[in-house]
């Protein structure tokens, strides 16, 4: 099953650089758009909805939801990049095929795409954190910076999940399954938007099995309190599942590309 071409190398950076070159042509517009969007999210959820929510353990709802939004933005950006983006490169534009006529292996291409997903996640999350800090919702700038490696992992993880679907997808419309089965459940139940305490046991258990929950726990702890309970446990789950998904992504893309 594991062929030689599936092992990545440093050459993955050449793929990453291609994505960066492409990104340079549209990032200004994107940043402006995202910035506005983030402010809207925060106003609508944090302050609009937040008025109905009592303070949670002494923090306001806006404070609570800020880190949740940071993590979900990392999830959304890396998902778009690895589903629609990668499918386009794989099947429509034949970018992968061109890369494979150069001395890049499938492993290099997959890893390059994933590194790029991680990079996009960091960019998106950083923009969100800038918005949070403008609203005074960030405890310490240093602790905020320390979440970036976690955000990068989230990018790798959702990039991998997206690539699994991109490898399987017969057409673009397939991704609506990906969003309703993978992304939306995590967006709602990974403790991004509301705390789990007081929810039915089944739902709480379900939430614990979502890898994103562990990312949210770490990021919320760091951003608000500068400390995380059970840090190593959460990190282990996050990193472990990311590795597994990365392997699945490589297999899925290889099956598609190697005929």
């Amino acid at each position: 099953m594991i062929a030689a071409g599936m092992v990545p190398s440093r050459r993955a950076l050449r793929v990453w650089l291609r994505h960066l070159v492409q990104y340079r042509s549209f990032y200004v517009a994107e940043w402006a758009g995202n910035f506005g969007e983030h402010v809207l999210y925060l106003l609508a959820f944090g302050y609009g909805l937040g008025r109905l929510v009592p303070s949670l353990n002494g923090i306001s709802y806006a404070q609570f939801i800020g880190p949740g939004l940071v993590v979900s933005i990392a999830m959304w950006t890396s998902t778009f990049e690895s589903t629609y983006g990668a499918y386009n490169r794989m099947r429509v534009q034949k970018t992968y095929e061109a890369m494979m006529s150069a001395p890049l292996s499938l492993g290099d291409i997959v890893l390059g795409d994933l590194l790029w997903c991680g990079t996009r996640a960091i960019i998106g999350a950083t923009l969100m954190m800038i918005v949070l800090s403008l609203f005074g919702l960030i405890g310490s700038l240093w602790w905020a910076l320390s979440v970036l490696p976690i955000i990068f992992l989230v990018g790798l993880m959702f990039g991998s999940l997206g690539l699994v679907s991109a490898g399987l997808a017969p057409s673009f419309s397939f991704f609506s399954f990906h969003f309703s089965l993978v992304v939306m459940p995590m967006f709602f139940f990974a403790e991004t938007l509301f705390p789990l305490r007081g929810l039915p046991d089944g739902l709480r258990l379900f939430s614990q099995t979502l890898p994103l929950t562990h990312a949210v726990k770490i990021v919320r702890g760091l951003i608000i309190f500068g400390r995380v309970d059970d840090f190593l446990f959460h990190l282990f789950i996050l990193a472990g599942s990311t590795l597994v998904f990365m392997a699945c992504a490589t297999i899925s893309v290889s099956r598609r590309m190697m005929s």
Binding site: A4, V15, V21, Q93, T95, M100
Partner: protein
């Protein structure tokens, strides 16, 4: 003396389901040689070529490219091989110049080191004034030329082109032919497919004609035409063509009928023309035999799927 083989395939096969797209072909391309694959649509040319450059995995057979076993991880091969695929694989999200340097970077050539080479290549295919253009604003023929320039970025030893001039206007086609001849005289080994007989005749030292996954004949184009078709062809298209052909009985000509035309293949047409004249037949065309005759004789004059 045995020349070195840059491509050596034996019994190479590939099936898609029940369809044998490539059915055990044997192919040898010597260093510095230009080899052309001809064949009707669906003959298996692209599939064969894609196996050779590593985009499709063969079901069977042996394949060595540039002296290396092509089955086991072919990265070293790809470092020394340029590929122009049948379908455009340009990076539509980048400009012409960025396409070139990003591709150079895939080979580990830095942006700075690739700069001169890119200018040289854009000159080579006459696209220098398009360097800042987005790919979607290029015409089809410009894209083909850019694909050729891109395939040369790392100075390959072997160039593989799948229909390099399809969709090109005559000027651009002649430009590409000229460039390919220059590259060949610089020692580059070339494997190409084409539907243009003139292209094969002009560029290729040897051609192979494929149909239904097999190579039917192989050899230098002029020789093949002489051996398999003859020197001259006479085409009869008049209403009395059958009667006229009867007048040629005894000359031992090969006759082929297709639609409204009778083709007579001969070593020399002089005798036949004399007889036709004395039989009063004036509606005929006498011309030298060409690769097109060979192609059509081998693969049939009718379109078939």
């Amino acid at each position: 003396m045995v020349a070195e083989l840059d491509i050596h395939a034996r019994g190479l096969s590939k099936s898609f389901g029940a369809l044998k797209a490539v059915d055990g072909i044997t192919l040898q391309v010597e260093r510095g040689e230009c080899y052309g694959m001809l064949g009707p649509n669906g003959a298996g040319k692209t599939t064969a070529i894609r196996m050779i450059h590593g985009a499709v995995r063969p079901d069977g057979g042996e394949l060595s490219v540039l002296g290396r076993d092509a089955a086991a991880g072919s990265r070293r091969i790809r470092e020394e091989m340029g590929v122009v695929p049948q379908e455009d694989t340009l990076d539509n999200e980048l400009s012409v110049y960025n396409n070139m340097w990003v591709f150079a970077n895939y080979f580990g050539i830095s942006r700075r080191r690739s700069r001169d080479r890119i200018e040289e290549l854009l000159d080579f295919v006459q696209l220098r004034d398009k360097w800042g253009e987005q790919i979607k604003n290029l015409s089809g023929g410009m894209k083909r030329r850019l694909l050729i320039a891109r395939a040369l970025i790392h100075r390959p030893r072997l160039l593989i082109l799948d229909e390099p001039t399809t969709g090109l206007d005559p000027q651009a086609r002649h430009l590409v032919w000229q460039r390919l001849r220059e590259l060949k005289s610089g020692g580059l080994t070339i494997l190409l497919t084409t539907h243009y007989m003139e292209e094969a005749a002009q560029l290729c030292d040897r051609i192979g004609v494929m149909a239904q996954g097999r190579v039917l004949v192989e050899g230098p184009p002029a020789e093949l035409v002489r051996e398999r078709v003859g020197e001259e062809v006479i085409e009869l298209r008049g209403a009395g063509r059958e009667a006229a052909a009867a007048a040629l009985n005894g000359l031992g000509l090969e006759i082929e009928r297709a639609g409204d035309t009778l083709y007579l293949y001969c070593r020399s047409g002089a005798k036949a023309v004399e007889r036709l004249a004395s039989a009063g037949e004036r509606e005929f065309l006498r011309r030298p035999a060409s690769l097109e005759d060979l192609f059509l004789r081998l693969t049939g004059r009718e379109l078939r799927e």
